[in-house]
């Protein structure tokens, strides 16, 4: 009886810790997958991955597009209440302007060790359709001015650009406000 209970107990503990290691393992594969394919477009939420980039990579891949699309880049984090509050406005924008060339990128400033425990669960739970990347670059003093000289470093913050026409906003957006700004670029 005693032995049996001890045995059962260990099985339970095992099952509990198994779950944790499982998420860890999938995190590792996710990073590998990301590096091979930086731009993963529309995907099943169950396999949602978030790419980690430093600022140089972010700038090269997303801030210097020269085409007829409008790019909206929003800096946010899962713990930032005003950021989370305005995310639906960005999501709605993608939907409402799907016939125009509008692309939304959400740049998460969550800590890199929170990708699997917070960022991905958040994206799944809220069914975020926009592309999400994580900016992993600790020396903010060097890259904040490259986003905009006006930026104090507070989030949320947003950049809208089309070719060389670029505007920076250190503020929260409602959908209407965002739409108004976007229309200036159309």
């Amino acid at each position: 009886m005693k032995l049996l209970s001890v045995f059962l107990f260990f099985i339970m503990l095992q099952s509990c810790s198994d779950k944790k290691s499982e998420t860890k393992a999938s995190g590792i594969t996710s990073e590998v997958a990301m590096k091979e394919n930086l731009q993963i477009e529309k995907e099943n939420f169950d396999t949602k991955r978030v790419v980690s980039l430093n600022f140089e990579e972010l700038e090269k891949n997303y801030f210097q597009k020269k085409n007829d699309s409008i790019y909206i880049i929003n800096f946010w984090a899962t713990w930032c209440k005003p950021c989370v509050k305005e995310l639906p406005a960005f999501e709605k924008l993608t939907l409402n302007f799907s016939d125009k060339k509008v692309k939304v990128l959400l740049v998460s400033l969550d800590f890199p060790d929170k990708i699997d425990s917070q960022v991905i669960p958040f994206i799944k739970k809220n069914k975020i359709n926009s592309e999400v990347v994580l900016l992993d670059d600790p020396d903010a003093n060097s890259w904040i001015p490259k986003v905009s000289e006006e930026w104090s470093g507070a989030i949320p913050a947003t950049v809208i650009y089309k070719n060389d026409n670029r505007k920076f906003y250190e503020q929260s957006f409602t959908f209407e406000e965002l739409e108004t700004e976007l229309k200036k670029f159309l």
Binding site: L8, F9, M12
Partner: protein
């Protein structure tokens, strides 16, 4: 003997349930992220935009204030007769960047208070918007994190706006003007970040704030007067 067996069996079942429950809790916690549709009343635009004020620049005279400390005492810069200046840090209980900076802020106070530059921390957030930033929770934070400096509550949310603090943590290094006739004037000498790596103290390369205080102490011109860091916007 039999009852004993039953009892130990029961105890095991209870124990097993607890283990299961705690396991479950853990999972629940991780999925309990902020829901996007949650009614967040936070309407956090930047103070500067709303008030039209741009806050202080280097060389400006910083205003004194009278704010309530977690100890219950009212604190003003003018209380510090012997100070050469102040490290004023707008910070809060909740912002992950503020939390990551706590130990560093305590260390700065320990290093520079004896040299004449004490830390004065101010929480600018409105607890009606960010409920974890209430006065009571500030008291708990100060105790738990071992704050050696005043942690003041910007009750009217006016002081941060005058300074132009947009986020937490946000540092203003002040120096008392020692020239004749200007007693009590505090001049802004440095604005910005504590160092160049808010996430990881052990990976810091440039200690912007400490360097600036040391340069003041040596009577030198501060070499890096303004820096930027990511922070949580002030919740009004």
């Amino acid at each position: 003997m039999k009852t004993r067996k039953i009892l130990s069996g029961l105890a095991f079942v209870v124990f097993a349930i607890t283990v299961f429950a705690s396991c479950k809790n853990e999972q629940k916690k991780s999925s309990e992220e902020v829901a996007i549709n949650e009614d967040v009343e936070a309407n956090s635009t930047i103070a500067n935009l709303e008030t039209g004020a741009v806050g202080y620049k280097i060389g400006d005279e910083a205003t004194d204030f009278k704010l309530k400390d977690v100890s219950g005492k009212m604190v003003s810069l003018s209380d510090y007769k012997d100070a050469k200046g102040f490290i004023v840090i707008f910070t809060c209980n909740t912002c992950p960047f503020a939390v990551a900076s706590e130990e560093r802020i305590v260390a700065l106070d320990k290093e520079f208070k004896p040299k004449g530059y004490p830390v004065i921390a101010i929480n600018p957030n409105n607890p009606e918007v960010q409920e974890d930033d209430s006065y009571e929770l500030m008291q708990a934070k100060a105790k738990e994190a071992g704050f050696t400096f005043p942690y003041l509550y910007d009750d009217s949310q006016t002081v941060y706006a005058k300074y132009g603090a947009a986020k937490t943590p946000h540092v203003y290094l002040l120096q008392k003007d020692a020239s004749a006739g200007s007693a009590g004037k505090n001049i802004v000498k440095y604005i910005g970040a504590i160092d160049d790596n808010v996430r990881n103290a052990s990976a810091v390369k440039e200690q912007f704030l400490a360097n600036a205080v040391n340069e003041l102490l040596e009577g030198k011109e501060i070499s890096v007067k303004e820096t930027k860091a990511i922070g949580c916007s002030v919740k009004q």
